[in-house]
């Protein structure tokens, strides 16, 4: 858990929305929960849109 909290902060350090990271626990007997988690995440990322990195790629 501590690591996932850390990821939230590190994402913000680098200027990314922390909503781009999520973690959920789904057992192999919970397909509905899995589908919900995946659709929720895809929807969320779609809403956030692409990451606009500065064009400097080295």
């Amino acid at each position: 858990m501590s690591r996932s909290e850390m990821i939230n902060e590190l994402l913000e350090d680098y200027g990314y929305e922390k909503e781009r990271f999520a973690i959920s626990w789904v057992s192999s007997a919970e397909p509905d929960k899995f589908v919900a988690a995946v659709s929720q995440m895809t929807q969320r990322v779609r809403q956030l849109g692409p990451i606009h990195e500065s064009a400097q790629a080295g």
Binding site: S2, R3, E9, L10, E12, D13, Q56
Partner: protein
Amino acid sequence: MGVTTALEWLSSCSGCEIAILNIGEDLIELLTEHLDIVHAPVIMDHKYYGQCGDEAEHLQIPEAVVGIVTGGVANEEHLEVLEEMRKKCRILIALGSCATQGGIPALMNGQNAAQSFAEIYQSSSTDKGAVLPDQGVPALLDRTYALDEKVKIDMMLPGCPPNPAHIAEMITALLEDREPQLPTKSVCDTCPTKREGKGSLSTVKRFTENVQFDPEKPISEMRCLLEQGFMCMGPVTAAGCAKRGAPSCIEVRVPCRGCFGSVLPKGNQMLDMMNALASNGIDFKSVVDRRSMLRFSGAHGNLRPLRRAPAKEEA
């Protein structure tokens, strides 16, 4: 005649050049029998535009087989010199942590440059403040770059300063046409301190209290500083600083500061260290200023201004 060699220094402090001098007696043979230095602003008064400044339109550096560049790329002049070095040298070597990963000057990459300039030069006192010059000085780039972000680099030797023995090995290997034998592991791999496991450690300490050790006993009798709870950057820092057995800082019982940069050339010392701490159940919130772990490796986009701060104008 020896192998023609050109030296250049960009955004650097000359510590790397002193490291070259510190090769010691072996340097005499290298200089007198093997190398022919054709350009080196740090020791020779060579003019970029001809002796009277009127012989060339573009700055000129003589052709050389080997080019050694220290310092990162922070302004337009650095970039122009670096590009000219790339054109004229067959083998281009990035020497020192500034050249390989940005080094200390790249600390600026973590700040908003315009804001910092105003704060440092113009508004810190009650008098009028300086006017930032825009004539006769090269303009700063948007951030400080490592050399390999701008041109192709053939060999890299990090360190702040680099280890003289490794500089000698690199040059000798080139002369003998073989692969140089340089360290590839982390500082921890070269560290003789005692490791007993982290025990009940769950936070890291700031270096405001002393390390536990017996001054009568050698380094190999001292407990690993990370295990003592200090932020030792050994696990995520490239080896090479050990000159008399132990890594240089550990030798004087001080935690590693990370001056050789990341173990892999494009690694990120801060992320690697945070990852290591989290894996060992250390509370990441006990690390006071995690961005300072990039104090020697802020180039390659590792260190950026915090976006939470007032937003920078994005083009």
